[in-house]
Symmetry: C2
Subunit: 242 residues, 2 copies
């Protein structure tokens, strides 16, 4: 209909979604400030509950801070290894999980739970909507970065309290994501954990229900879901071939 994007724009959106990867290996080249500003602009233009814009973006270049974060992550990585059984522990420890020092910069994305005061439109029932909005901003950042040829890796094995200490973040602010950001040699075709056989990609038709939990959709939606191969930029099948 009239508000749909022209084919090339629309394809760009699907290509970004399909080609975005969680990146752990980076080139040392600096990210030009104009590109970084565009990517942060993209993040800042996510929607937020009650227009509260609860996010901040701490751009970390300081090597001393990054070394401290890296040491903390490494300790957490070894601690987490103990939770896996013997068969999986070796695989887990073989994965490269972060590029904190390889990447030219890191970005900590935070959520200020008190921004614009205690009464936020739309947040009366579910307090976590501010955290959810911050995650939407992170996804915008990730997709814009992909369009710019910039890789992003989300490091999730950090204690929020330790990040608060290292980055001097106040208690009422939640560090939601710690991202490594930089140019890459390559965006892998598939997610690393899929390629490694760690877990399988679920079929689209398995994750969609109709009207109620666990009720599979009927035709024609079930047929359309089953044709999910219609979008596969890796195999060269685009959405815009129709």
């Amino acid at each position: 209909m009239k508000e749909a994007f022209p084919p090339q724009w629309r394809q760009g959106v699907y290509e970004a979604i399909a080609r975005r990867r969680d990146i752990r290996s980076f080139l040392p080249d600096p990210v030009p400030p104009d590109i970084l500003a565009r990517v942060l602009w993209a993040a800042h233009h996510a929607g937020s509950v009650g227009f509260m814009q609860p996010w901040n973006f701490i751009v970390i270049e300081d090597i001393g801070i990054r070394r401290s974060v890296r040491a903390h992550v490494e300790a957490q990585r070894l601690r987490a290894a103990e939770a896996f059984d013997d068969a999986r522990r070796g695989a887990y420890l073989s994965f490269k999980l972060e590029g904190i020092l390889d990447a030219p910069l890191n970005i900590c994305v935070t959520c200020d739970r008190q921004r614009f005061g205690p009464t936020i439109l739309g947040r009366h029932t579910i307090r976590e909507t501010d955290l959810y909005s911050t995650c939407a901003a992170i996804q915008n950042l990730w997709l814009a970065a992909r369009a710019e040829g910039i890789g992003v890796g989300w490091v999730s094995i950090l204690e929020p309290q330790e990040l608060r200490r290292l980055l001097e973040i106040p208690e009422h602010v939640v560090p939601v994501a710690y991202l490594c950001v930089g140019f890459v040699d390559d965006f892998p075709e598939r997610p690393m954990l899929e390629t490694a056989g760690w877990l399988p990609r679920l079929a689209l038709s398995e994750v969609v229900f109709s009207d109620r939990w666990a009720t599979p959709p009927a035709t024609p939606l079930s047929d359309a879901l089953g044709r999910e191969g219609f979008i596969d930029p890796v195999a060269g099948k685009g959405v815009c071939e129709d």
Copy 2:
């Protein structure tokens, strides 16, 4: 660099981010199954911690269920009004906050906190990363929908426990978002709450820090952030004019 998108694709990503809106008014036209499948495909291709893909998408067309959800939301809306002072209460009550019955379909996006068992790679330190991943999927859905000319409105004033009851969602699954989905007459130029003067848009330079909380960035990043008007699809300034 070589992995950057061609200009039209890249512009599509920024245009989707800039033109996405939280929609509350819908046309009754049905959403074609192929378009709905593409939008759900986009959601399912978000990244997730440990590749756990914790999301499900309950596509709700049943009018009886939607009437029950609508009645619950209306009660929550009136309850929430009591939290605002007199000056704001009138404005709050004048806003249209949802299109549950106008839209041809609703989608409840959930997070299964037990998917693939208790030990998920990367979720040992921060348990909420599965919820964060689900929000990334929601943002993908929202952007793909925008590219298709489909509006999405996130209704956040629902009790999760009531949604579980109405949609028969098990206790270990969190209903993260309740979305209204359909074609629209118009995507507003600015967010409704910005236009209404409810809260101001923060300047990009206000939400970016350098190395530590509350430390403003130095040049050249600060200059680049100050030029944020460089992307303004509404005013016809695109990212691809360089």
